[in-house]
């Protein structure tokens, strides 16, 4: 397998949530979320109630994948920041530690300059945690973390009722 799968634990999840909660406030943003490059939502903060975060996550990953493909074609490694400007809301997308995607949605109450500044700091902190998680996955999982091993055929069959 080319990359190890991402695993999230209570402790790291709390740390990540704290960072993006703070980013939301300090950047005056409406919504902040963190997505795995494969399109899985990791964490979100802000007014998420009316937003389809699952679709947002998948399309963000698709967007990053497509621009990453474009980057390679013109000899760039990747475009680490994308910015989409709308009539009301703007989208700031950046890659953290080559592995996860940080998305900030903001309107006129904030500005691109402020978002950029706050994202930079948050990215560094997030990267540290993500790297820690990836190491933790590579190391052998503890018995307590190995719950999946107990899944039986019966459990799987029951999923489809």
């Amino acid at each position: 397998m080319p990359t190890s799968s991402l695993v999230m634990f209570e402790e790291e999840f709390k740390q990540i949530t704290a960072i993006i909660d703070r980013l939301l406030k300090e950047a005056n943003a409406k919504l902040v979320f963190l997505v795995d490059k494969d399109g899985q939502l990791i964490a979100s903060s802000g007014e998420t109630r009316d937003v389809d975060t699952t679709s947002l996550a998948s399309l963000t990953a698709g967007n990053i994948a497509a621009t990453g493909g474009l980057a390679k074609l013109i000899g760039e490694k990747e475009f680490s920041i994308l910015f989409h400007e709308g009539e009301k809301d703007n989208l700031h997308i950046s890659i953290v530690g080559q592995r996860v995607i940080l998305v900030v949605i903001f309107d006129q109450r904030s500005s691109l300059g402020l978002v950029r500044l706050r994202v930079k700091k948050a990215s560094e902190e997030l990267n540290t945690i993500i790297q820690k998680l990836l190491h933790r996955v590579e190391a052998k999982p503890s018995a307590q973390e190995n719950l999946l091993a107990e899944i039986s055929d019966n459990d799987i069959d029951k999923l489809f009722h």
Binding site: V7, A65, A66
Partner: protein, 195 residues
Amino acid sequence: MSFINYSSREINCKIVYYGPGLCGKTTNLQFIFKKTNPEHRGKMISLATETERTLFFDFLPLSLGDIKGFKTRFHLYTVPGQIFYDASRKLILKGVDGIVFVADSQIERMDANIESFENMQTNLKEQSYDLANIPYVIQYNKRDLPNVVPLSELKKVLNVNGAPDFEAVAATGAGVFETLKAVVKLVLIELKKGT
């Protein structure tokens, strides 16, 4: 790649429907969408051309219930089957946990099936995956049409490895959930091995 969240107790996996143009990948997802309780699925997103050919991907998130206290979520994607969208197919394959190869049973699509299957293997290899290590199933679709290749012949050509395989008529839904269930099962078994 699967994403296991011990904090929110969720297992997330990615399943990709692969196969030649017009074989019925999008139709599979549309049927699953239609027949799944809205509580257990999200919106289906189709990035398609004016003529409803898949341009980048279709996406359908499903949540299938709990296993040992973990919510299981499956993200279903289709690739665009048309040959010239190869760059997009490569992107969609990234992080895949399980594959459904959808073949078009019509005689005149046999070459397209073979070409697509080989293309899938090439694209997997490019990302250092090996089909031998990835859970996958095969679906022989469009069994309702008159000009179809006999099942034994399809198996011989497309399923040399003896993966679980199913006949289907995605347009009416026959075989669609059997196929999905089989790949989900393989993915979970693989996940269990990996941990």
